[in-house]
Amino acid sequence: MEHFLEKLGSAVIKWLQYIGEVVLLFVETLRQMKKPLRIHHMFAQMAHLGVDTLPIVGLTLLFTGMVMTLQVAHEFIRFGAQSTIGGVITIAVGRELGPVLVGVVAAGRVGAAITAEISTMKVTEQIDALRVMATNPVGYLVVPRMLACMFMVPVLTIFGDFIGVVGGWFVAVFRSGISSYLYWHSITMFVEAYDITGGLIKSVVFGIIIAVLGCYCGLKAPNGAEGVGLATTRSVVSAIIMIFCANCFLSLILYQ
């Protein structure tokens, strides 16, 4: 029992230390933002990381929108509530599914890519080379990636939201026999702008989480070739957990 408590305690301490260090990196990133910003690096990152993620986001939200509607439509039609389906789907996608799924996909795609790149730089001493040339690695590497993710993840979310709603429409019309007009009309009836913008606020936070955790794990990669693999796995897993955790709090703040 004592042994168990000891283990639990040290795990908690480790975890808190981890969170603390990530927060410190975030603060340092904000501090480094004052210096001349490397805007072209940011756009390079956005193009590099965003374009590749677009198709995966599209497919994920398409199928999610479809399957959601499949389940919802069946029940709602039984209660005679078919005139609300479009609105319900859009709210679900806009507030929760869009931002969270895009966040998870981006963590797997973008976060992993960031960590792989930076941890490779770490183990091959490129980070040290940056420092030797009087270039702050946080300013040079983390800032543009964080800015890129802050802008890119919301953009991907807008795209994902749209595809999700279209997927829902497809199933509603061709599978559940709801008229196209009814679907779109219910969206204009029930959905408020805040259902979408609130989701986008979330996705800005998720973008920050993905970038900062991705960079943190990369910069802390253990030496040696296996360090890259370890760091990448850790980055993706912890980013996904953090996204779900942050999403819960953000929903409480934004939608209560």
């Binding site: 790149e117 490779t120 091959t124 490129q126 040290d128 420092r131 030797v132 040339m133 009087a134 270039t135």
Partner: protein, 249 residues
Amino acid sequence: MIRLVDVNKSFGQKEVLRHINLTINDGETLALIGGSGSGKSTLLRLMIGLIQPTSGEIWIDDDEISHYDEAQMDKVRVRMGMVFQYSALFDSMTVGDNVAFGLREHTDYDEEKIRSIVSEKLGLVGLTDVEDMMPNELSGGMKKRVGLARAIAFEPSTIFYDEPDSGLDPVTTEKIDELIISMQKRLNVTSIVVTHDMETACFVADRIAMVYEGELIACAPVDEFRRMKDERIRAFLRGLYIGDKEAEG
């Protein structure tokens, strides 16, 4: 001037450097020799502030850097250059961009001037027409020389060379050795050269220092060093490595 006063460095439980006292004068070339794993790279990394000592003082001119943060350190580092043991080229950039990196970051030279400096420095290390190649298209020896060109591009007043000539053929080695000497002659650069090659050490250096299992066991002018009686030094002079690990090729 670089001055180390009773510097110790441990990684966790492991003591890597013990009681290092060393002074390197301006314009001097110091060769640092020692077996593999004896702590030579660690010593260089301490002097350029990549790692901090466990105890002791490190003076770079009038800065005591052992507790400097990154921003303070950067002000000191613009006067220094380093050639890494494994090149450490930025593999997402072309060779030209690698060499131009410091110039782009810290000067507002125009593109034309930067380009001419880059090809000049690449020329000095015996490379031409490689500006547009990526580092992974180069051989190990070429990478090493690009790393050298990158370190001298900014014309620093102190240069750390971590095995600039390992893995190079004899002709290129000689060329690099001459480059180190000419940097010293032309720009009065202070150089610290880590090497496994006694011939290079004797050729380029004013003084030779030997690290043995984390301790600085000798530091003397070349002639004097060659006449030293210490068995550990004699063994090294005979071309033997006496580190606890096998030297890398």
